[in-house]
Assembly symmetry: C2
Homo-oligomer: 292 residues x 2
């Protein structure tokens, strides 16, 4: 009972939204980067995903089908920006459903983090401190490119790093993760884009906070209608999808109390097998309302 109260307190603190969040989208690192090529973005996938997100988010389209890009940076090879201010004339801000995006690191950050052991902590060692700096440079570079890709497709995206937001861990679990600024950004009509990050840890000085842990925390706090995972595979399988006989789980129902079960396909004795696999990837918990 006490735990329940605590959970209720936590889940309502700091969250003041004028309307609920429709969807939190997780862009898997392997879907938006080339996993085996260091720090290389999968431009084609990222563009497709950005366009699809925009179409999904829009409630009404007053722009007559023309995409009004929001990345006005200079393009390579040009001296001027691509912005055409006149296109915007006096249009009101588009009506978007409340969305937010979290992305993984893919081929960004992992090299720096694993070489230096940032996840194991110990900032008193120069290698770990340098690795922390190098990891943040790599993952914030990726974040900027994703924000730009979304903005080019007309999504009002805003990069927000967990580190700068003041998120902290203790023994690698989230200890403090204020979402009030994320809520303010969403209420102002923006789409916050967060990412797996190197953060400070009260017990071991530093660690890596993964995109999946971020998603779980955000889902607990905001209780969105949907949490969508975009990966390089088709969905959630009952075992690693490269294994023979892996079965795609078409629908997973998650109840208010956080328990869940597979709705489709309806196979007997599969539940336990799935539970282990999903838990190993740490993407479950009381977090998903639906996996679409």
């Amino acid at each position: 009972m006490e735990k329940e109260n605590q959970q209720k307190l936590q889940s309502t603190s700091n969250v003041h939204l004028t309307k609920p969040i429709r969807c939190i989208v997780k862009l898997g690192g392997s879907a938006i980067t080339c996993k085996n090529e260091l720090e290389t973005i999968n431009e084609e996938n990222l563009k497709t995903v950005s366009r699809q997100l925009r179409q999904t988010m829009m409630v009404s389209d007053s722009s007559c089908g023309k995409v009004l890009g929001m990345d006005w940076s200079k393009r390579p090879g040009f001296t001027e920006t691509s912005c055409v201010v006149d296109d915007f004339c006096d249009q009101p801000a588009l009506d978007f459903s409340h969305f937010m995006v979290v992305h993984g690191a893919g081929s960004f950050g992992h090299f720096q983090a694993s070489k230096s052991g940032v996840h194991k902590g110990g900032l008193n060692r120069l290698l770990v401190k340098a690795g922390f700096v190098a990891t943040r440079i790599s993952v914030t570079s990726l974040n900027l490119e994703i924000v730009r890709a979304l903005a080019r497709e007309g999504v009002p995206s805003i990069g927000m790093s967990p580190f700068a937001c003041g998120w902290l861990t203790c023994e690698r679990n989230i200890a403090s993760a204020d979402v009030s600024m994320v809520a303010k950004a969403i209420d102002s009509g923006f789409v916050p884009v967060m990412h797996g990050d190197a953060v400070l840890d009260a017990a071991q000085a530093c660690t890596i906070l993964s995109g999946d842990v971020i998603i779980r925390h955000l889902a607990e706090q905001f209780k969105p209608e949907f949490v969508v995972f975009l990966t390089d595979v088709l969905g959630v399988y009952d075992r690693p999808p490269t294994e023979p006989n892996a079965v795609l789980l078409r629908e997973i129902e998650v109840r208010e109390d956080g328990s869940w079960s597979v709705v489709k396909p309806t196979l007997e004795n599969m539940n336990k097998q799935v539970e282990i696999t999903v838990a190993a990837h740490d993407t479950t918990g009381g977090m998903v309302t639906k996996i679409s």
Copy 2:
């Protein structure tokens, strides 16, 4: 008296540092970018400044003169990173004085902000919302490049955007600007790098928060020994330095109560003239302990 108490309260809140900040460095936008070329960094200046900052920050040098770079990103034209993990072996983290950096926008962000009128607010207009997104993309791109330049010279730099830190304004004045995460980063041995940014405003929905206003707030909160302004001119003059007869002010004394006077050169009747000029640039107030 009440005002004094208020100031004292404000200046001690949230700031818990193990040792005081030695210096806040302002990198003027015109010093690190090519002011007349859109989104172009002055690479040479930035490299020189980064190296000099490192030398100034270091208390002791245990690295035998070898610079251990902390930007391990892939370089253009290479498929591997430049990181040599062995160089770090088991060195303890270097002893740095507590520093932090704030930079202006120079040729980044201004175009996007002025075209859309972000500083005047009004997020219900699509142009302003797009300009807000575009401005943040531009200034965070610059921030990333400055963090990388510092890291390449061995400075453990960490980018922190005022927006993500939850800084808010009301009628364009700072209304909420928690520095606790900045303090934690400094205490962990990092050099936070903040920047002028587009932020949410309680009265007009959004505005631009300038690097100079950020510096003033940080100086009030942290009371550093020094605040250093690196600009494209030699220092603070008694009038715009392009005017004939402009006199470089070699030393400005700022007293505890925030009043200040010019120590060198000692010219009669110059004080009033200076006061007007400096106030017009909004970089004074109770903020500087010394201008070096």
